[in-house]
Symmetry: none
């Protein structure tokens, strides 16, 4: 039987899609200062959407960065509160030339909506707002079934620098019993999932200098240090040939994988050949002794994100470079402290550095520890029930190789765990050119959120 | 006793300096398309100078690039010909803000004339023309003492792309017995020198691809290849920790350093501490078992000129890069064939590459072999005599770590060796801001050239 809110969602699906497109047309790139005004405009549009559906308290909170859209709809002071989390900012769209259609010109092709932020995360955020709209428009009293608050930040893609301060500052207003996140992943179109943990993060850079300026290679190359060469040697020491991290002590504090986790993870289907062909790679690489998913979800990494030094233009320049640089991020697991890992990497670089090269390791800002939720958390169980009914199969228990620093902040500041309830699929080109979202996933997301919020009215939130 | 031509040079020194300044006011930057008209104006000015002093055949040769100024003054068909080589183009002057006075506003300060091209090479080119002027104005018949041709190109600073074609095309007209170059270096103000060799050059790039596109490190970093990581591993295999090239076979065809060369090179003064402090480095690096000068002049290198891959912007981007790149140049010595060295590097990269990374090595364009002149070459011996008399000391026998591809072209096409006879000093800021030439070096250059050409009338040229 179709419920009233489901019928509302069906009747409004065209308008709802157009709303998603409107959200996606904002170039809300938080990393680029040029988009500062676009960020505010996007926040105001999101706030307007909340007001449109009837949220009584909506405000933009300013922590000195991009505005946080915060809303509250308390229908019964005696009852618990569920806070919906999401973000309206997106990754930079470059390289632009690889997009089939413009990153901020949402376009439907073959059942997918293409645009930067289509899945991560504006598409999912707007879907939640539309789900709440369906609930209140079809309710007897015009209220949602439970107390809700809305927390849509504009800094997720840059590590949420000002958000923790805002959470501390507005601690009372943000008090809640659980956070349900519209940002997160669904394991597969036919493999619904719930997420039990996210990895921690350490960001850093390695710099080296070998001389006061770039030198003419014909005059100096044969006899003086070369920064690009010594940086390559250094980066090569960070991993073994097989792919394990070779920094002494790196794995020591990482919590070992339990038997339950091994079994849970082994249930998750992964066809390695498909995994590889999806990304155009020909072999796996990484820490030996673990399965692909164990590595992605439960083992820490050092990832080199970029490196550069010397001449990069067209043609050639016979220069002996005097400096070189590399960017890295570590994905951490439970037990690991980002500050301690940075210390270990500094010690490694110092030990490996020849005396004639000046290496420095910077970083540590925007770090966070891994986040885990109890597999028996009440809201998680309710979410599992909703998904089981919709998909007619039990959701897989998965984990995120990615990081959501805010989960740790909510846990520490508000005492609220985060339940992920989001429809971002692995083939959605998240953070890459031609990001997309399935139109069917947007529909499922709207319906699932409406059902979950309805169900939570009669279940414990924590 | 002052000769007639020496007296002429003394009497005309003010006018000659003004002529050098006129040449330096042309912004003859061959690399920048915006200076195309300036290049032609400079060539016409140089051609005009040759006509002024009486050169009967002067023409601008067009190979599709910047014009080549070519002149011929054959006084006796039966006698050998010496061709004077030089170039009227200069390096770009940037960074402009580091110049004390404008790069194209020649200014005298403390015995130095400052301007782009003051030493490299317009100052030296004009000095030769003035030396010939002195000879013909003070000769009985108004002719130079020997058959001369003049070859002043406008593409030296961009690798002379159209010059080899012109040499092949005008092979007959350019026939000569020796080339004497107004471009080259003098080891020190009090350490006159003659140059016995220049190094060969191989230019190349290494590229690697590990996936179809950059990937989200949280989704893939722990389990898939990382292009920046594997490129670092690859670049690290090119050299041993001590600084020798580790490519199998790389040194095999390099001619070994002879005892004479070892002795000759050991005579050249080099204070390692000064060498290092000049460039702001703290230690030497390179192939073990050789002195600094042996490495710079007589041992081949692979120099990494630049590398890049992944994210380089400010902040961080949690990407697993799918491609990475590096540029290298090899400085080669006698015996080494650039094509064979490229083949060895390709073989090395193929051998070191893991199966899951697609490495390609491109390059080979603009390569050239090393150039050497016999230490007993007759013109070289005469040049040594002239320098010995002027400085009252025997010139050092030095070599260039740099490359002059044109020397190889003249050798192959015209059968003529190149003798370097130039006053560019290591403290002249060649290719850098505040390029200069000593006024005394310009005077010595004029007198030395007039003496050399006079002396060659009675000596074998080859």
């Amino acid at each position: 039987m179709t419920t009233a809110y489901e019928q509302f969602l069906i009747d409004n699906s065209e308008r709802h899609l157009e709303e998603v497109c409107t959200a996606l047309r904002f170039p809300s790139v938080s990393a680029l200062p040029a988009h500062r005004a676009d960020m505010r405009a996007t926040a105001e549009w999101v706030a307007g959407k909340l007001r449109d559906i009837g949220v009584p308290e909506v405000e933009l909170l300013d922590g000195g960065g991009h505005p946080l859209v915060f809303g509250r709809w308390i229908v019964d002071d005696e009852k618990p509160v569920a806070m919906v989390y999401g973000h309206y900012d997106v990754q930079p769209p470059d390289p632009l030339d690889l997009w089939v259609t413009g990153p901020f010109e949402p376009t439907v092709r073959d059942g997918f909506l293409y645009a930067r932020g289509a899945a991560d995360n504006k598409g999912n955020v707007v879907a939640v707002i539309q789900a709440v709209e369906a609930l209140v428009r079809t309710s007897a009293d015009g209220n949602p079934p439970i107390n809700l608050s809305f927390f849509f930040e504009g800094e997720e893609e840059i590590g949420s620098p000002t958000v923790p301060t805002l959470v501390r500052k507005y601690h009372d207003r943000m008090a809640c019993d659980v956070v349900i996140s519209a940002d997160g992943v669904m394991y597969g179109v036919d493999d619904p999932s719930l997420t039990l943990s996210t990895k921690g993060m350490l960001k850093g850079e390695i710099h080296v200098r070998t001389a006061a300026s770039d030198l003419h290679s014909g005059l100096y190359g044969a006899s003086t240090p070369n920064a690009v060469q010594v940086m390559a040697k250094m980066l090569a020491t960070l991993h073994t040939a097989e792919g394990a991290v070779a920094v002494e002590g790196f794995y020591d504090s990482a919590r070992q994988i339990s038997e339950v986790e091994k079994i849970e993870t082994a249930k998750v289907p992964l066809v390695e050949a498909t995994f590889l062909s999806d990304i155009g790679a020909t072999a796996l690489w990484g820490e030996p002794g673990y399965t692909v998913l164990e590595r992605l979800w439960l083992r820490p990494t050092i990832d080199l994100n970029g490196s550069w030094g010397g001449f990069q233009g067209s043609g050639s320049k016979t220069v002996t470079p005097c400096e070189a640089h590399a960017k890295f991020t570590c994905r951490l697991v439970a037990g690991q402290d980002p500050a301690e890992i940075l210390w270990l990497i500094r010690a490694h670089v110092a030990k490996q550095s020849p005396a004639w090269a000046t290496f420095t390791v910077t970083g540590g800002e925007g770090s966070c520890k891994a986040f885990e939720i109890d597999r028996n958390h009440p809201t998680l169980i309710t979410a599992a029930d909703v998904i089981t009914e919709m998909y007619r199969k039990e959701p897989l228990r998965i984990r995120l190789g990615g990081t959501l620093p805010i989960a740790e902040v909510f846990h520490d500041e508000l005492g609220a765990d985060m339940v992920f309830f989001s429809w971002e699929q692995s083939d959605n080109n998240l953070h890459a050119p031609n990001e997309s979202v399935r139109l069917t996933d947007l529909e499922i997301a709207r319906r699932a959120w409406a059902t979950l919020l309805t169900r939570l009215a009669n279940e414990p939130l924590k």
